[in-house]
């Protein structure tokens, strides 16, 4: 579509309006004058030649006045509109000079035109939101880089140190076992990143299959404690023999529980166990993971599931880009479940993940990437769960 100058559009429209209005007014005035003169002629006040000459004179004068008025309207509207639009031109020039990747840039145009001031405000609000998104992305990448570099450091330094000199076979076994733990750490990070990428793309579709809960949890706990964490696992006897098994994506569920355990172990005091419990209701199954750490400020609990969010207790620690609880929220959302974070009886953090035993046709909508960044819902719609 061809684009035209706003200034040209306004000037042409004002001039046309003035010209049309003047023409109508002049035609109406001329008709009235002519009618009056004809009436006077009928009454014998005028000679017919005198009337024709007067009408010719009037037509010429009206035409000249019309042209002058239109030209004056063009000039006047051009001057006034150009002044009014000057601030928009300044805004456009400053907006063009905003550079990608540089935060803190704002448009500074002083204007008395209300619409221009509103435009400046809207653009600056947009720049502020972009700044926040850019900073969030930068921090997430830095934290992820840290999380990935740490296990690689252990792998490289471990292998190099082992090769510095001959060592007992037991020491080599320790190095290999330690390397496997670091590979598990890297696998957890890559699995979580892939899952979140699919979730953001709206392509995270769980496979609903009967889940053998006890073996699944035992496997996750064994993997999570290989680095030294202590976990107490409480699965009611005969849980997997119930008439209505849990239908869920066992791989996603395992990843979510592993992330919860990884997070809990990282914040648990050494030597104390992280508690993992599972409870079944007729229509739901609830998994809870509770640490005995120093808990989380209740004010930030609603933000725990945001991608990249890290609590004060996580800051300064090695590891933890803030992926884990977002993975948990994503897995819960695509299963139509709900996840709740709260203080546990010991003062630590307890995260409870409740899934329906049978998937629902009307699953909650997957949050858009923007909605996710703004804060994933802690609790998916209650309607998604059987009452």
């Amino acid at each position: 579509m061809p684009r035209r100058s706003l200034l040209a559009i306004v000037v042409v429209r004002v001039a046309l309006t003035v010209a049309v209005a003047f023409t109508i007014a002049a035609a109406w005035g001329y008709a009235g004058m002519r009618r009056s003169l004809v009436e006077d002629l009928d009454r014998g006040r005028w000679e017919s030649e005198g009337v024709d000459a007067a009408l010719d004179r009037a037509r010429r004068q009206l035409a000249i006045v019309g042209v002058v008025a239109t030209l004056a309207a063009v000039a006047g509207s051009w001057l006034l509109t150009r002044k009014a639009l000057g601030s928009i031109v300044d805004v456009a020039a400053q907006a063009r000079s905003v550079e990608g990747g540089t935060v803190g840039q704002r448009i500074r145009v002083e204007t008395t035109v209300r619409e221009s001031a509103e435009l400046v405000r809207v653009l600056n609000d947009l720049l502020e939101r972009l700044d926040r998104a850019f900073e969030w992305q930068r921090r997430l990448i830095a934290d992820l880089g840290h999380d990935i570099r740490t296990p690689i450091t252990v792998l490289r330094a471990g292998a190099e140190a082992a090769l510095l000199r001959d060592r007992p076979a037991e020491r080599y076994r320790e190095v290999i076992a330690g390397s496997l733990e670091e590979i598990d750490r890297l696998a957890l990070i890559s699995d979580s990143l892939l899952l979140l990428a699919r979730f953001e793309a709206g392509a995270l579709d769980p496979v609903h299959e009967p889940v053998a809960v006890a073996p699944l949890l035992a496997d996750v706990v064994a993997r999570s404690t290989s680095a030294g964490g202590i976990v107490s696992l409480d699965v009611p006897a005969g849980f997997d023999g119930s008439a209505q098994p849990l239908l869920a994506d066992s791989r996603m569920l395992g990843l979510a529980v592993e992330e919860l355990l990884h997070n809990a172990i990282a914040h648990n005091p050494p030597g104390t166990p992280v508690a993992v419990t599972v409870r079944g209701e007729p229509d739901t199954v609830t998994f809870s993971v509770e640490d005995r750490g120093r808990g989380v400020d209740p004010a930030v609990l609603p933000r725990l599931f945001e991608l990249g969010f890290r609590t004060d207790r996580a800051r300064g620690r090695s590891g933890g880009a803030g992926l884990g609880l977002t993975v948990v929220a994503a897995v819960t959302a695509v299963h139509g479940g709900r996840v709740l974070a709260a203080a546990g009886p010991s003062g630590g953090l307890r995260v409870s993940l409740t899934l329906p035993r049978v998937p629902h046709e009307n699953r909650p909508l997957k949050p858009s990437p923007a909605a996710q960044r703004a804060g994933l819902p802690i609790v998916t719609p209650a309607a998604a769960l059987p009452s």
């Binding site: 570099r149 450091t153 490289r156 330094a157 190099e160 510095l164 620690r317 090695s318």
Partner: protein, 119 residues
């Protein structure tokens, strides 16, 4: 050379101690910033290997505390944070050098050797 390693990742700390010990250094390991600061103030070391991210006081905080206490021993900051701003912050706090993870042991030995030569 007596080296103090302050590193909260137990595996990395023990690997550093093992590797540096293998090449003849006397290594003490601390897993927190406060513990490392206490060690540095109570014993004599020739070099400190300091992680940037620690659970209590971060690396730059530990460096500033050491410098404020009058310790002028060389400090080599070792971190997985490799952004220019992190390196600048680390050096601005008073650290003498910066090594990013993952590193080759040969690179670490070269830096340690350089400090040993100037000692």
């Amino acid at each position: 050379m007596r080296i103090l390693v302050i590193e909260d990742d137990r595996k990395i700390a023990l690997l550093l101690a093992e590797a540096l010990g293998d090449v003849g250094h006397d290594v003490t390991v601390c897993l927190t910033g406060r513990e490392g600061l206490a060690q540095a103030l109570s014993r004599s070391f020739s070099l400190v290997l300091l992680d940037y991210m620690l659970p209590d006081v971060d690396g730059p905080g530990v460096v500033r505390a050491m410098r404020s206490a009058g310790l002028d021993l060389p400090i080599l900051m070792v971190s997985a944070r490799d952004a220019a701003s992190d390196i600048a912050d680390g050096l601005a706090s008073g650290a003498d050098d910066y090594l990013t993870k993952p590193f080759r042991l040969d690179d670490l030995f070269a830096k340690v050797g350089a400090w040993e030569a100037t000692a």
